[in-house]
C-alpha cells in the first residue's frame, strides 16, 4: 500500500501555528472588565494551613456580599518548596493568576520585570516594610506579612541540660551567641538537637542570615553589585557557624534532622508565624529575640507581598479586592498569622488579640522592635540562580576540615559574574 507523503512544510506550519497559539495564550489578560458574567479571581498562596485559608475565605466571602460582580475568589495553595517555580510556570503557560503571594527573595525579580501592576500606597504602611516592593516611588505589592525572626525555646530541654533559660539571660543582659551556643551544646550532649536554623538543612544557606547579621555580615552589598561572602564579617560569622556545627556540636550536623516543634531540639530560629505549630506542644516553650552578636543587637525580618499580576484577566477587580483584603479591619484579622506592616497596628494590644499564644513582652521585643529595626531577608534580581550557585559553592564548607576563608572566596568567584549582570 502506497501512503501519501507527509510534507515537512505542513508539519512546520503546524508547529509554528501551535507556537503562535501558545504565545498568544501567554499574553494573558489585559484587564478587560467588560466581559459578561461574574468575575472570578484567583490568588496563588504557599500556605496550605487550614486556618490561613479559612480566614482568607472568610474575608473573600465578606467582599463578595458587597460586590455582586465578583463570582468566585479562589486561593490556590502551591507547596513552598516549588512555589516560585510553579508560579512562573503558570505565568509562562498563560495560566496567569490575578493575584500572587510573592516571597521577599524574588521581590526584585517581580518588581523590576514589570510583571506586577502598581497599587495604591497607604500612608499607614511602615516605610521599612515597603522598600522591597517599590520602584520609582511606586508600590507594586502589599507587604502583608512582615515577620521578624525570633528564637523559640524548649525550656524543658534547656533546664534539663542545666543551663539558664534564654529568657533569664535576656533579663540578665547576657543573651549572646556565645551563650546560645553553650546552651545548644549542652542539650546536644543529651542526644537532642541544640540550635536549629529553620529551613536551612545545609542547603537553604540564606536562612543563615538569622545568624550572620549578628556579625554585621551581608551576602552582597546594598546595591547588589559586590560580593560580601569574602568580607571579614562574613568569614567570621561562617567560621562561628562551622565551629558551632563541627567543634562545639551545638547545631545538628548535615544530614541530621531534629524537629523543634516535635520536641527534638532546644531552640529554633524562625519566623513568629510558626508559633501556631506550638498550639498543642507537649513541652514548655518560650520566644525570645535573636541573641546579641559581635556587632550588637540585631533583627532580621522575613516578608511576603501580595501583588496583582499585570497579565491577569481582571487587573482592576484584583486591585480592588487586594485593597479590601489588606484594609485596616482585615489586616487586624490577618495579624494573627502575619504581622502587619501598618504602624497603627504594631501595638501589643492589637497583636496580643491576634496572637493569644504569645505574651505582650514577647510581642514587643520580638515583633514590634524587630520590625522597626530589622533588616529584610536577602533578595536580588536573578535570585534563584544566585541561590543555587551559592548553595553549590558552600557545600564544601559543611565538612569538619573545611577551609572557611577559601570556600568564601570561591563563592565570590562564582557569583561575581551574576552580581555584575
Amino acid at each position: 500500500m502506497k501512503l501519501p507523503k507527509l510534507k515537512l512544510s505542513g508539519l512546520t506550519a503546524a508547529g509554528v501555528a501551535a507556537a503562535l497559539l501558545a504565545l498568544a495564550g501567554c499574553g494573558g489578560g489585559s484587564g478587560d472588565e467588560a466581559a459578561s458574567g461574574p468575575i472570578d479571581l484567583r490568588m496563588t498562596i504557599w500556605s496550605a494551613n487550614a486556618k490561613h485559608t479559612a480566614l482568607f475565605d472568610q474575608i473573600a466571602a465578606a467582599y463578595k456580599k458587597d460586590h455582586p460582580e465578583i463570582g468566585k475568589i479562589t486561593f490556590e495553595s502551591i507547596p513552598y518548596e516549588n512555589y516560585t517555580t510553579t508560579l512562573t510556570t503558570q505565568i509562562g503557560g498563560g495560566n496567569v493568576p490575578d493575584l500572587a503571594w510573592i516571597l521577599e527573595s524574588t521581590a526584585p525579580d517581580f518588581v523590576t520585570s514589570g510583571a506586577l501592576a502598581p497599587i495604591d500606597k497607604d500612608a499607614d504602611l511602615l516605610p521599612t516594610t515597603t522598600t522591597n516592593w517599590e520602584q520609582d516611588g511606586q508600590l507594586y505589592a502589599y507587604p502583608f506579612s512582615t515577620s521578624p525572626l525570633g528564637v523559640f525555646v524548649n525550656t524543658d530541654l534547656v533546664t534539663a541540660a542545666g543551663r539558664p533559660t534564654p529568657a533569664q539571660q535576656v533579663a540578665a543582659g547576657t543573651w549572646t551567641w556565645d551563650q546560645a551556643i553553650a546552651t545548644g551544646a549542652a542539650v546536644q550532649k543529651s542526644g537532642k538537637g541544640g540550635v536549629v536554623v529553620g529551613d536551612f538543612d545545609f542547603k537553604g544557606w540564606d536562612a543563615l542570615n538569622s545568624i550572620w547579621a549578628g556579625w554585621g555580615a551581608r551576602p552582597w552589598s546594598e546595591d547588589g553589585r559586590t560580593c560580601g561572602f569574602d568580607q571579614p564579617e562574613m568569614v567570621a560569622a561562617m567560621t562561628a557557624i562551622h565551629k558551632m556545627v563541627f567543634t562545639d556540636k551545638a547545631m545538628p550536623g548535615p544530614g541530621v534532622t531534629k524537629d523543634f516543634f516535635a520536641g527534638d531540639a532546644a531552640m529554633v530560629l524562625t519566623q513568629i508565624s510558626r508559633a501556631a505549630l506550638l498550639e498543642k506542644a507537649k513541652f514548655k516553650w518560650d520566644l525570645v529575640p535573636l541573641p546579641k552578636g559581635p556587632a550588637g543587637e540585631y533583627s532580621v525580618v522575613g516578608q511576603a507581598g501580595i501583588g496583582v499580576l499585570k497579565r491577569g484577566k481582571h487587573v482592576d477587580a484584583a486591585k480592588e479586592f487586594l485593597a479590601y483584603f489588606t484594609n485596616q479591619e482585615n489586616s487586624a484579622k490577618l495579624a494573627q498569622f502575619f504581622p502587619p506592616p501598618r504602624k497603627s497596628q504594631l501595638t501589643t494590644d492589637v497583636l496580643a488579640k491576634a496572637n493569644p499564644l504569645l505574651k505582650p513582652a514577647q510581642l514587643q521585643s520580638v515583633v514590634i522592635d524587630g520590625i522597626e529595626r530589622g533588616d529584610i531577608k536577602t533578595s536580588h534580581v536573578g535570585y534563584a540562580e544566585l541561590q543555587q550557585t551559592v548553595r553549590a559553592e558552600l557545600d564544601p564548607l559543611w565538612k569538619p576540615d573545611a577551609d572557611v576563608k577559601a570556600v568564601m572566596s570561591g563563592v565570590c568567584a562564582k557569583i561575581n559574574p551574576l552580581l555584575a549582570k
Binding site: 503546524a14 507556537a19 501558545a22 501567554c26 548535615p254 544530614g255 540562580e385 553549590a392 557545600d395 559543611w398
Partner: protein, 313 residues
C-alpha cells in the same frame, strides 16, 4: 449528420472510460489511514509539535515575568558551546548512566537466572523484586531520603554490623552512588521480568544437547542462554540507557544536584535553567542537546545489534 444528431445521449457521451475513484486499493488505503489516525494525531500533537516548539523556543529569549519573547537566533547555541556548567553536567550524566546501566542489567539478569530455577518460593521473590516498579517514584525516593540520612536507617543498620557509615547524601561520590542505587532498586524488577520471560523461552532441548556435549554450566550460559536472550538484552539496554539519561525526580528529591554540582545531571540542569532561573530559551536548547544524545545512542545501539544480537524475530 442526422444519424449523429439522433443518437441517444448516453451513447453520444461515450469517451475513454473513467475508472471509479473508490477502488478497493483506495478504500484499503483510507481504512489504513483511519486506523492509524488516532495514533498519528497523538504523535503529531504530543511529539512533533512539542519538538517543533522546543526548536522554536531555543531561538528565543523568553522572559516569563516580563512577558517578552525576543528572537535571538543562535545565541542560545553559542551559550551552550561556552557554558562552563555543561561539562560537569554531562560528566555527572555519563557517570550516572554508566553506573546504572551496568548494575541494572547485571543484577536483573542475575536475579532472573536465579528465579528461573525450579525452586520453592520463587514467586514470592519475583513479587518482592518487582514491587518497587509499581511504587510511586517520588514516594520511593522520599523514603530512601530518610534512610540515607546521617542518622538514618542505612547507617543504623551498618552500625549494627560495627561499620561507621558515611553521610551518604553529603559526599560527592557517595551521593552519586546513593542516587544510582535508589534508581537501581526502583527499576531492576522490570528488566528482571523481561529477562525471566526471555529465559523461559529458551528451548530446554538446547541445554540438554549442550549437557550431552559436556558443556559446563558457565559454557551453557555463555553459549546457549546469552545468544538466545540477546534481543531482550538489546531491548533492556536501550530502555535502561534512555531512562537513565532522563533521571530527574531522584535528583530533585535526594540531592538537588549537590553536593556542589556532583549530581547535577543534564535533565536537572535544564530544569534549573528553564524553570528555576527562567532561562526558557536556553533550557529548550539544553533539551535539544539531550534529544540528540538520546537519539545518537539509540541509533548506535540499533546499528550495533547485528554484531551481538543472535537472532531477531
Amino acid at each position: 449528420m442526422t444519424l449523429l444528431a439522433d443518437k441517444p445521449a448516453a451513447v453520444a457521451d461515450t469517451g475513454p472510460r473513467r475508472a471509479p475513484y473508490w477502488t478497493m486499493r483506495r478504500r484499503d488505503e483510507l481504512a489504513g489511514w483511519l486506523m492509524v489516525a488516532p495514533q498519528l494525531a497523538g504523535i503529531v500533537a504530543f511529539v512533533i509539535v512539542p519538538l517543533g516548539l522546543v526548536v522554536w523556543y531555543s531561538l528565543h529569549e523568553w522572559n516569563v515575568l516580563a512577558g517578552t519573547f525576543d528572537f535571538v537566533g543562535g545565541a542560545n547555541y553559542e551559550q551552550l558551546a561556552s557554558d562552563p556548567r555543561l561539562g560537569p553536567a554531562l560528566r555527572a550524566t555519563g557517570i550516572f548512566s554508566a553506573g546504572l546501566v551496568v548494575l541494572n542489567l547485571s543484577l536483573a539478569l542475575f536475579l532472573a537466572v536465579l528465579l528461573n530455577q525450579k525452586l520453592r518460593g520463587t514467586v514470592v521473590f519475583r513479587t518482592l523484586f518487582f514491587s518497587p516498579v509499581v511504587v510511586t517514584l517520588v514516594a520511593w525516593t522520599i523514603v530512601w531520603g530518610f534512610l540515607l540520612q546521617d542518622n538514618g536507617g542505612v547507617n543504623a543498620f551498618l552500625d549494627l554490623l560495627g561499620i561507621d557509615g558515611p553521610n551518604w547524601l553529603r559526599g560527592s561520590t557517595t551521593a552519586m552512588i546513593s542516587v544510582i542505587v535508589v534508581q537501581l532498586f526502583k527499576g531492576v524488577g522490570l528488566n528482571m521480568v523481561l529477562f525471566l520471560a526471555a529465559l523461559q523461552g529458551v528451548p530446554a532441548e538446547l541445554y540438554e544437547a549442550a549437557r550431552i556435549d559436556g558443556a559446563s554450566a558457565w559454557a551453557r550460559f555463555r553459549q546457549v542462554t546469552l545468544p538466545l536472550i540477546s534481543p531482550t538484552i538489546l531491548l533492556t539496554s536501550i530502555l535502561t540507557i534512555v531512562g537513565s539519561l532522563q533521571v530527574f525526580a531522584q535528583i530533585a528529591v535526594l540531592t538537588q544536584g549537590g553536593p556542589g554540582t556532583s549530581t547535577t545531571v543534564l535533565v536537572y540542569y535544564l530544569y534549573q535553567q528553564a524553570f528555576q532561573f527562567h532561562h526558557f530559551g536556553y533550557g529548550a536548547t539544553l533539551s535539544l542537546l539531550l534529544f540528540v544524545i538520546v537519539l545518537a545512542l539509540t541509533v548506535l545501539q540499533w546499528r550495533m545489534r547485528k554484531r551481538w544480537v543472535f537472532h531477531e524475530s
